[in-house]
């Protein structure tokens, strides 16, 4: 009958992964402290809900911004008709200044090199369309955000070749890992167009070191390829010394006017720093005029509402507000992160030391029944169903070592987080008890459980899950 296109019928959208399966379970039984206290607590959503009050108070004090007014004069007409894909100049200016402020004003950005898109999702996809032809590849360090599978592979048809990172060195990118990934791509007959890193990293929550950044720049220079630095979490860095933007390194005189100058591109968004994912505001920043021109035109397929652009231009132009917001937001994230780490420690669960992000990369290898991904799935299922926490298993992030989980801590109240910590502690205690008892039984049950769990994961059908960094 009416066949759909191959793209519509395939599953490159990646929605069948366990990452999204957990969401589904959460949606069926969401925790609510009043209505459903036994429900599943959502720890798989990287959202920043800690500083809404700051935004709300600014809006209350500045009704003009949301009221289509400037200095008391209505500009509704202009906004209603404004559809220029170059974006509202005032907004772009305010946004690049905000980006500079986040980086301690150690770099400055030119608003003419900025392209606005409907969220970072759209920004990454658009960059793929601009930099790679279908069938070409990008190298990504693992573990990486599961959404990249969809954003890079689906419509742009770009292949992802992993750069394997392991816990042996804190999941840092190494020269040999880069080279190996490149070789791997060659073996698969894939032309590598670039490297995509997230800095600070999702799901690791760590800022890339200067060494890693230099390594990346040398690597792309040697191979003649691009580098995309997704800096969407740059404003969530709560230990201020750590984060270095690729732009800062690029400003180093040996790179200015070198070939690499044109091959480094930044992706940004207000979804994490300002906690406004619903606003759908993303951006591409590049020194490469061709990329900016092409991306600008492509942004027609995902423009930001003029109403939102104006509202945010007013907010971000208020320097007093932005300074206060960034400081306060960082403080709150730091505190919340510390609370979470304490809770984990209390339960005897280690995690990767991090300085940024809305989540932690938690080490539950010691709780696995075996060093396998099947055991990881087993454990994950227990955590979702028995413990009542939706977390993201490392396998969904393409981690090479089983037993790691991403757990988000900034999308709930302190009380809820406390409850989550209690649940984890009870769970860990119960495991150590039952471990002693069921050691004998385990071997016989393992193989049958493994089969049914794998089947269960792959047979689930899912509705679309939104926003899940």
């Amino acid at each position: 009958m009416n066949l759909l296109s191959r793209k519509a019928s395939c599953n490159s959208h990646g929605q069948d992964s366990s990452y999204f399966a957990g969401w589904e379970e959460y949606e069926k039984n969401p925790y609510d402290d009043v209505k459903n206290p036994e429900g599943i607590i959502q720890m798989g959503l990287a959202e920043n809900q800690l500083s809404f009050d700051l935004l709300e108070s600014w809006l209350a004090q500045n009704p003009d911004a949301a009221g289509f007014k400037r200095n008391g004069e209505s500009i509704f007409r202009e906004l209603a008709l404004f559809q220029d894909y170059h974006g509202l100049p005032a907004f772009k200016k305010a946004l690049v200044e905000f980006m500079a402020e986040i980086r301690g004003n150690k770099v400055s950005f030119d608003s003419n090199k900025l392209v606005l898109t409907a969220g970072a999702t759209s920004a990454n996809e658009t960059l793929m369309f601009c930099l790679a032809n279908p069938g070409e590849a990008f190298l990504l360090p693992t573990p990486y955000y599961p959404g990249f599978d969809r954003d890079l592979k689906w419509r742009p048809e770009v292949e992802i070749v992993p750069i394997q990172c392991t816990s042996s060195n804190g999941f840092r990118i190494t020269k040999s890992a880069l080279e190996e990934a490149y070789q791997q791509a060659q073996k698969r007959n894939l032309k590598v167009k670039g490297v995509l890193v997230t800095n600070p990293s999702n799901p690791l929550g760590i800022s890339l070191s200067r060494h890693e950044l230099d390594l990346l720049l040398s690597f792309i220079t040697a191979k003649g390829i691009h580098l995309i630095s997704d800096e969407i979490y740059s404003g969530t860095v709560f230990n201020s010394t750590g984060f270095v933007s690729i732009m800062e390194v690029l400003m180093n005189k040996k790179y200015v006017n070198s070939p690499v100058w044109d091959r480094v591109h930044i992706v940004y968004s207000l979804s994490k720093d300002l906690g406004l994912p619903g606003f759908r505001v993303g951006a591409i920043y590049s020194n490469n005029k061709l990329v900016v021109d092409a991306a600008t035109k492509m942004s027609s397929f995902g423009l930001v509402s003029s109403q939102t652009q104006y509202l945010l231009s007013a907010m971000l132009s208020d320097k007093k507000f932005t300074k206060n917001y960034l400081t306060e937001n960082r403080k709150r994230l730091k505190r919340r992160h510390a609370m979470f780490i304490r809770g984990l420690k209390n339960a005897g669960i280690p995690c990767l030391e991090s300085d940024a992000g809305l989540f932690c990369w938690v080490d539950m290898r010691h709780l696995l029944s075996s060093k396998t991904f099947e055991a990881e799935m087993e454990l994950w299922k227990k955590i979702v169903y028995q413990v009542g926490l939706n977390v993201s298993p490392g396998s969904s992030c393409h981690c090479v070592e089983p037993g790691w989980f991403r757990m988000c801590f900034a999308n709930m109240s302190e009380r809820t987080l406390g409850l989550a910590m209690q649940r984890i502690k009870s769970f860990v205690n119960s495991i150590s008890d039952s471990n002693n008892v069921s050691q004998n039984k385990r071997h016989s049950n393992k193989s049958s459980r493994r089969k049914s769990f794998s089947k269960w994961i792959f047979s689930l059908s899912f509705h679309d899950r939104e926003g899940e960094r």
Partner: protein, 524 residues
Amino acid sequence: MTRNPESELEPGSRKPTRTGMRLIVPLQGIVQGRGGLLLGSLIPCALVYFLQVYLKRHRSSKTLSPSTSAENLTELPRSSSRANLLTRGSIGRVHVSSRASSIAKPNDSPYYIGLDRVQEDPYDEINNPNGIIQLGLSENRLSLDLIEEWLSKNLSASMLGEGGNDLNICGIATYRPADGLMELKVAMAGFMTEVMGRTISFNPSSVVLLSGATPALEILSFCLADQGNAFLVPTPYYPGFDRDMRWRTGVELIPVHCRSCDDFTLNIKALDQAFNQARKRGQKVRGVLISNPSNPVGNVLSMDMLYNLLDFARERNIHIISDEIFAGSMYGNEEFVSMAQILGSEDSDRDRVHIIYGLSKDFSLPGFKVGVIYSFNENVLAASRKLARFASISAPTQRLVVSMLSDIKFTREYMKTNRERIKKMHDLFVEGLRELGIESAKSSAGLCCWVDMSRLISPYNEKGELELWDKLSNIAKINVTPGSACHCIEPGWFRCCFTTLNEKEIPLVIERISKVVETCKRSA
């Protein structure tokens, strides 16, 4: 080659120079079979090489200075997303995708060039009375006051609060379904029901919300066709289709020409012919793309014609995309009939029809980026919902639009008044043109009219049409869209949008056009 090498030198020169001899002697050597083979082949190659370089340098494309949009921060620049970004013609030193290279190139269609010219020299009654008047953008500026009035009474309730006095940013800030809030789907389905005359009821579950009709079309193109497949499109058609359906999808558009003798109405025989020709070429046709009401012509399809189209699609087992974005801008006497209306309960038919809608035209809100895919095909809906994450509508806008569209009393009043105003402008404009001896195609909807200036062009072809377009732009200082940009097979037709004007600007426009008419008549 027996001529004396000396005679190969330019006439008028006397003796060959020493260097000349040094060059020529080895050549002569080759000719005479003596040892100058290496030099004799090197030198001509070198000469040819330098000749190529010389030619290349002088053949390089004209570089135009980039247009500067008003960088003035104290006022919003009035420009459209279709404005062309003219680059300095330098291609980057790095390898980008072939898609990027072709998309970044300056667009040479007069549609985009015209929009750019207006941006550089826009008419303003007070500040720039000799600027170019914009008639090339189908934008409705007639009824924004009505929306503004509504906003002044309803804004605070509608914007951020969720049924209360507190600004609840959590409600709109956090992630929501990629394909739009359910409340907005409900409101939009209700609005579409109103707009299409309440003859059918649109179902909120079949609505997918996107940031504009542009991504809506692209997403449908991705869902219904593979790279290299094609859609049949009756001409003349909206120039933006070439971008929306083709750029990143690799899908092709096959124009199916409609003619003035048929009032530019769809012709099933022509569709059939085009389908067969495509098949012979080995090209797979996946569907037909129509705009109804038509952009640029402004006519609507009769119920009969819609049935015929559906029959055709069924027989060929292809899809129909019906872009109905102007459905609410009817001013003629006919009733608008949506594709949705003629669908029976037969599943096979329902699965092949997909409708595009949005608030940019009927509701004058192009800046807010609100578009809709409405489909009866569950698989298309499922795929579109997932793709919607690349083009979601900004949450504050969703919230605002929910309030607006839910106020049915307001929307009814708005649509009624808006239609009256469009009709008035249309009649004034068409009459004004008629006084100059210029006729327009019969139209009953939309924001533009399809004007016949074929008698003013000479020669009677695309070149003549573009010359007239240029005159209109440079002498009359009005920007209109030439038919060739819309792939019209008959030269001399122009799309003129009149809803960007106010009433007193019409006589001014007519007067300016008359100057060019005079010029053409004199030179004829």
